[in-house]
Symmetry: C2
Subunit: 314 residues, 2 copies
């Protein structure tokens, strides 16, 4: 089944102990779509400025000219459908720059230039409105609610967020959480949202806020899944050299949602398997700067690592 | 099969966000033996001062008067055999005081009084020398080598250590590592020992130093097992309220070694199952101050949590 992501496309400047890159293609929707499109065609809604290099869109396997595909057209659709990508004339693309040090678990943000993101209002092409699987990447609750107002009878909607919105837009975020089926958070976000330092309690408390599925990402330490009557824990796929963690969380969500959309059904078994594809996707992402390593990984590469992972934890 | 532990018995003063206790029974051998004795009789070698309250020994299910049990006597032996426990007349027991804050992953040591530990030389009762399973709890490499010089043809020897010895007694520790079968380290120790920040690389590098089995403990994040041709990862048993992490690592080692000794054979399957018992043992320990919660947990409690854990990760 098809999958919609609404999120950012960015130009990232990143410094890690392994080096630095300037204005690499990044953004939550980018990493999510790259991971998820290994499983199903992905419909991407986002915004770039006039300065965004057209050739960068080739990372999605297509381009801005890709047709808006209905369910029927999907079979021939390119992996990532960019019909919902807005390009703002005269605008500048969202830029983020950050630095990772030490254990590289947390990015230090050096600069955020919202640019075209500051006035972004997602508009779903009509063909996108009935997409069964929807991912609301990290954005203001206001923007996430605008998307929820445009989708029709989705089967499974999952949202991401960040500490900024937890602190500044608590009410809007509460409304989002009441209206989605699932949420992915990292450990600090789960703690910030609930005021519980203990992650097990924090995850359980998030369930009380509305979502029936709560995924807490712990970076190199794996992830927890909380749902009614269910707790599940998995380690991360072991990575011997983390070059750049940027996008790992979005890739994780992409692997998870991509697999769920492929399966068509959100069962406990599919959630668990999806989490493994999530950690596999993230393991590719962190192996290089930007999107390169993830973009090169094929579905077969994903499946090989999934099998490896299952051996590691069995 | 029987299991020998050489380590500390301490009087711990501990402060955590949940409160504080003064001079609780603690020490590596104590926590190890309490966990391991759920599986097999444990022979404890350690030292206390004249000030150590005799009635505290009841936590081991026996007392200083327990007979030194040979293999034949073991069936009637009390869970923890204290024939190897030295009491130094006029001496003061080893004392440690520490504080945990925030996420409680790391203790801040406030004071260490070695006291009788400063001049401790372990002496194995003759009946202990042929113990098949041996655990060298954290101690100076010198003391650990003294034990290795007294055991005869052990089947599986595992050692613990700490950053202090990694920094100060590198050569002695290298000798220990060459002579043992396995080592348990926490994440920071594995990094300190190898100079590798990445844990996957660090664990792999420890194998090069000698041990055929390397267990890296990550506290609330679970553990990694490295061996030739094998990498295994497991999350921790989820604990909703960590009251006091003291002794978690030693309990973990006790659950692991206890199960291995019970099985009698160090296979990959037994190692994996032993790691689960390790995280189960630690989950009891951290639920209360000192040894109380672990001491109350029965073998049946261990087995119930083992089954729960297997559901959480399946």
């Amino acid at each position: 089944m098809s999958l919609l992501v609404v999120g950012t496309i960015a130009l990232d400047s990143i410094e890690t102990p392994h080096g630095r890159v300037e204005e690499e293609t990044g953004g939550s929707a980018t990493y999510f779509a790259l991971a998820a499109s290994r499983f199903v065609p992905v419909r991407l809604v986002g915004v770039v400025g006039e300065d965004f290099p057209e050739e960068r869109l080739s990372v999605f396997g297509g381009g801005a000219a890709a047709p808006a595909a209905g369910e029927a057209g999907e079979r021939r659709a390119l992996p990532v459908d960019l019909a919902g990508l807005q390009r703002v004339e005269g605008g500048r693309t969202f830029r983020w720059s950050g630095r990772y040090e030490g254990d590289m678990n947390v990015a230090e943000t050096l600069e955020t230039q919202l640019n075209v993101l500051a006035t972004f209002h997602p508009e779903l092409p009509p063909a996108y409105r009935r997409t069964p699987f929807v991912f609301l990447a990290n954005a203001s609750p206001e923007v996430q609610l605008e998307v929820l107002g445009q989708v029709e009878a989705p089967r499974f909607v999952m949202a991401d967020t960040m500490n900024w919105w937890i602190e500044k837009e608590r009410e809007g975020l509460a409304e989002v959480l009441r209206r989605v089926d699932g949420v992915v958070l990292n450990d600090e976000e789960a703690r910030g949202l609930t005021g519980e330092r203990n992650l097990i309690r924090a995850g359980t408390r998030v369930l009380d806020l509305g979502p029936k599925v709560v995924v807490v990402k712990k970076g190199e330490h794996g992830a927890f899944l909380f749902s009614t009557y269910l707790f599940h824990a998995l380690p991360a796929y072991p990575v011997g050299e983390v070059v750049d963690p940027t996008g790992a969380g979005d890739s994780f969500a992409g692997g998870l949602m991509g697999y769920l959309a492929r399966s068509g059904r959100v069962s406990i078994g599919n959630l668990k398997r999806g989490l493994v594809y999530g950690t596999v996707a993230a393991s590719f992402t962190v192996a290089g700067f930007g999107t390169g390593a993830l973009a090169r990984a094929t579905r077969e590469d994903f499946d090989i690592r999934l099998q490896e992972f299952l051996h590691f934890v069995a």
